[in-house]
Symmetry: C2
Subunit: 220 residues, 2 copies
């Protein structure tokens, strides 16, 4: 590590530069296609220094996922002001989410497109972040049910399913918004809020959509 | 190819057996971790025969994606009876979707978890299937807007965003339902229908969720 101390720039700063370059390269080219040469060049450092700091391509990718996942969850949490009505909190959370993903499209690509491939060691990192966001959304939905002055009589499994649906919808919309010129973070958040809240709102008010008479249906 | 003709089993049948084994192995272990040895053994054939028929691991995976994507879109299309009210069509489509993904969890894992990693050649196959399903859902939403006896005055971009949200929610719920013991296809479909339709229904009726006064908001 003595070699490192002779550099003028502190290690932490250099590491962030390497991670910036790596997120950009992984996000735009994909994990497999991205080369360590490319990342080192973009970071303005030698390839051996990247290996010295981050060990391997796989470890570098894992470090990217950790940093981007932490930044995204932090942005969403910071965007939500506790104690407000549940719909307001959800709106704030969605805006924070879409604002962050639109400002960090490469980071989002790393999390959404690159890292969920299961069987890979880094998939667990993304799964942990996602579980945290789903838990947060589940709390919001339960709070909304309490606010509606009803017993939160939605079964826990139903709430878990709704949270999964909302998070999946947000993931999909973020990828779409980033790929569609002219769609702003606010528009994406408003689309999802309309989709999700008016629907959830009806459910909270005891007005769920009713399936057609089961007797007339094809089984499945 | 003469060597093949001497086999007692027709090539098409053998190929399907190889694909069955490959979908199971890729779906459960992931693309990287899956080995051609394992796939050949599970299919009850020699590894050279797998290469002879399917050429390479990458081509085999692409063939898996094509088959599973075609089966899923076909199942959804077959589940929807044209001419019925839009909510009924959506309900039927969702039930067909969740029924198929619950009966073919490995095929769904191949499509959802393994194949979206961008930068890979096979990602285009999944993107094409997804685009077809999004287009189908977009049509349903437009039909619903027409049925509501209003001009379909939702801007095209809003409808595209709603379709992306719905498809993303369905993808997420399918993965959750397959990972959660006791959640049936019907329950998953009902959860999403409640989430989505009551929300879409409100929008069609001109009762969107209203964002709070913009003047009081943090910009983003």
């Amino acid at each position: 590590m003595d070699a490192v101390k002779t550099k003028r720039m502190p290690r932490a700063v250099r590491e962030q530069q390497m991670l910036d370059a790596a997120v950009r390269t992984f996000g735009q080219r994909g994990y497999m296609a991205a080369s360590m040469d490319e990342i080192a060049e973009l970071a303005g450092v030698s390839k051996p220094l990247v290996y010295l700091y981050l060990n391997s391509k796989e470890d570098l990718f894992t470090a990217c996922i950790r940093r981007e996942a932490a930044a995204l969850t932090e942005a969403v949490r910071a965007g939500v002001i506790p104690g407000r009505p549940a719909d307001r909190q959800l709106w704030e959370g969605l805006r924070a989410f879409f604002t962050h993903t639109s400002r960090h499209p490469d980071g989002w690509a790393v999390l959404h497109l690159q890292a969920r491939t299961h069987g890979e060691p880094f998939a667990a990192e993304v799964a942990a972040m996602r579980a945290e966001i789903v838990a947060f959304v589940t709390e919001l939905i339960l709070a909304a049910a309490r606010e509606a002055h009803r017993d939160p009589d939605l079964p826990e499994r139903e709430v878990a399913g709704l949270a999964e649906a909302l998070v999946g919808a947000a993931e999909s919309l973020a990828a779409w918004a980033n790929a569609t010129p002219g769609v702003t973070a606010r528009q994406a958040a408003a689309t999802l809020m309309n989709f999700a809240w008016a629907g959830l709102g009806n459910m909270m008010d005891g007005r769920p959509w009713s399936p057609p008479d089961a007797a007339h249906e094809v089984s499945g």
